[in-house]
Amino acid sequence: MNKMEKALHELGEMDDLTAMDSPIHRLSPLAKLLTAIIYIIVVVSFRKYDLSGLAVMLLFPVILFQISGVPVRTCFYKLRIVLPLVMAVGLFNPLYDRAPLLTLGSLPVSGGVVSMLSLMLKGLLCLMASFLLIATTPIDSLCAALRKLHLPSTLVTLLLLTYRYVGVMTEELAVMTDAYHLRAPGQKGIHVSAWGSFLGQLLLRSMDRAQELYGSMLLRGYHGHFHYAPGRRFGLWDALYTAGSSAVFLLLRFVNAAELLGRLVVR
């Protein structure tokens, strides 16, 4: 199996995750989307030195992983490419902010280190929340929920078509890569000199396909917007889940639960 085929296989695995059955999977997509958005906003709003407060927010994805049955291992495996990039965001903070903020035993820890860890944790939490959302919600239901939140139709259509065609384009790329390697034995990867024509070919093929696809849409009455499946209605449980989760997030944002617990234990 080459890299492209592996990518296709992984895409199929995401469909399998959304097809699972759990209380989280059964929630309305709108409830899951709203909760994820509120969670991300709350996580991002934590102050840069509030590492202990932020750590408590880890509870939400952990609980969701448990209830939904989505394997944590799968999450980290799928995020393996983007995770290091997100983690790298605060890498230079220790160089700029050297003032000691706290001491661990006799070891002083600078503000830069704390803010770096805080940024890393924020990135990790946001990625986990996003992953859980797409692993428990089929793409069409997610698009329907996005439209309910009045996200522009063009953006939602782009998301839907990207999801549908990323596999097809990957297949196309796999065929081109195989054709290249069959005529370039022993060569590792694709030589820099061929990158231009590779990308050019892929772009041309994408344009041809896009044109035919658009024609196909027009022939079936497309006039600017998609009719998404209504999906599960936003019911009482969905309202309770969204309101309850949001209330807990806000509470954890303004009351440092870790610190409170620490004080209780120290007393």
Binding site: P138, D140, V168, E212, S216, L219, R220, G221, H227
Partner: protein
């Protein structure tokens, strides 16, 4: 019903793709459109659907194919593309099938009924909620035909419906086409399939009609076919060899 009246088309001024094309396909007829590469088969299809516009007059069910009537024309004509991946653009088969009925103003319940009817007609019920990128090529082709049937069109145009299919799936597609009651125009190089599904054939060469008649006659005329860069269907080539050993087939 589809009618072409003196239709010409060219992408560039000097090189015409179609020249003075006239033919009429009556209700319920099944017509094969054959010709070598570049003969103009796909262009005929695109003109009939209003994806291209040329000179002359094209009528679909009595309505002139023009910018003003496009929605009306396209509601009546279903088009099965050669590449099913380009046709099936929604994540699942169900969503693809319900796309056109909803766009044409049907309620979700009515549209669902049409989807179930079309799937039942082709025996594809188990594909309904499958993801388009996870079904086989043969299943995708059948699902593409089902999406068109859900529109309940009067006319179905098909571009190479049997291409890239294994013999088993090809036979399923052929049987399906034979079972469709609508008026059909099928463009293909697969002359055996045309012989199986069409009673009439239009032979194009370099944008002109060179023969229009019963499929059984035209597809048996080796001289005519070879003069226009075609060959006898495989199933008839054996017959011809028996009658005329050493004919080179």
């Amino acid at each position: 019903m589809i009618e072409f009246q003196h239709v010409s088309f060219s992408y560039e001024k000097e090189r015409s793709v179609l020249e003075d094309l006239s033919f009429r396909i009556g209700p319920g007829e099944s017509v094969g459109l054959i010709g070598a590469n570049g003969a103009g088969k796909s262009t005929v299809m695109k003109l009939a659907l209003g994806l291209l516009s040329g000179e002359g007059r094209i009528l679909a069910d009595g309505i002139e194919v023009s910018r003003a009537n496009l929605a009306d024309v396209r509601r009546r004509i279903g088009f099965v593309l050669q590449n099913s991946d380009n046709q099936m653009f929604m994540p699942t088969v169900y969503e693809d099938m319900i796309f056109a009925p909803l766009n044409y103003g049907l309620s979700r319940e009515e549209a669902e009924q049409r989807v179930d009817k079309a799937l039942g007609q082709l025996g594809l019920q188990e594909l309904k909620y499958r993801h388009n990128h996870r079904i086989s090529g043969g299943e995708k082709r059948m699902a593409a035909i089902a999406t068109i049937l859900a529109m309940e069109p009067d006319v179905i145009l098909m571009d190479e419906p049997s291409s890239a299919l294994d013999p088993y799936n090809r036979r399923i597609v052929i049987n399906t086409i034979r079972g469709l009651k609508q008026t059909k125009l099928i463009a293909s190089h697969d002359l055996d399939m045309i012989l199986d599904t069409c009673e009439r054939v239009i032979l194009l060469d370099r944008g002109r009609i060179v023969a229009d008649g019963p499929a059984d006659e035209i597809l048996r005329d080796r001289e005519l076919l070879e003069a226009h860069r075609m060959e006898l269907p495989f199933c008839l080539a054996g017959e011809a060899e028996e009658k005329d050993p050493g004919s080179g087939l």
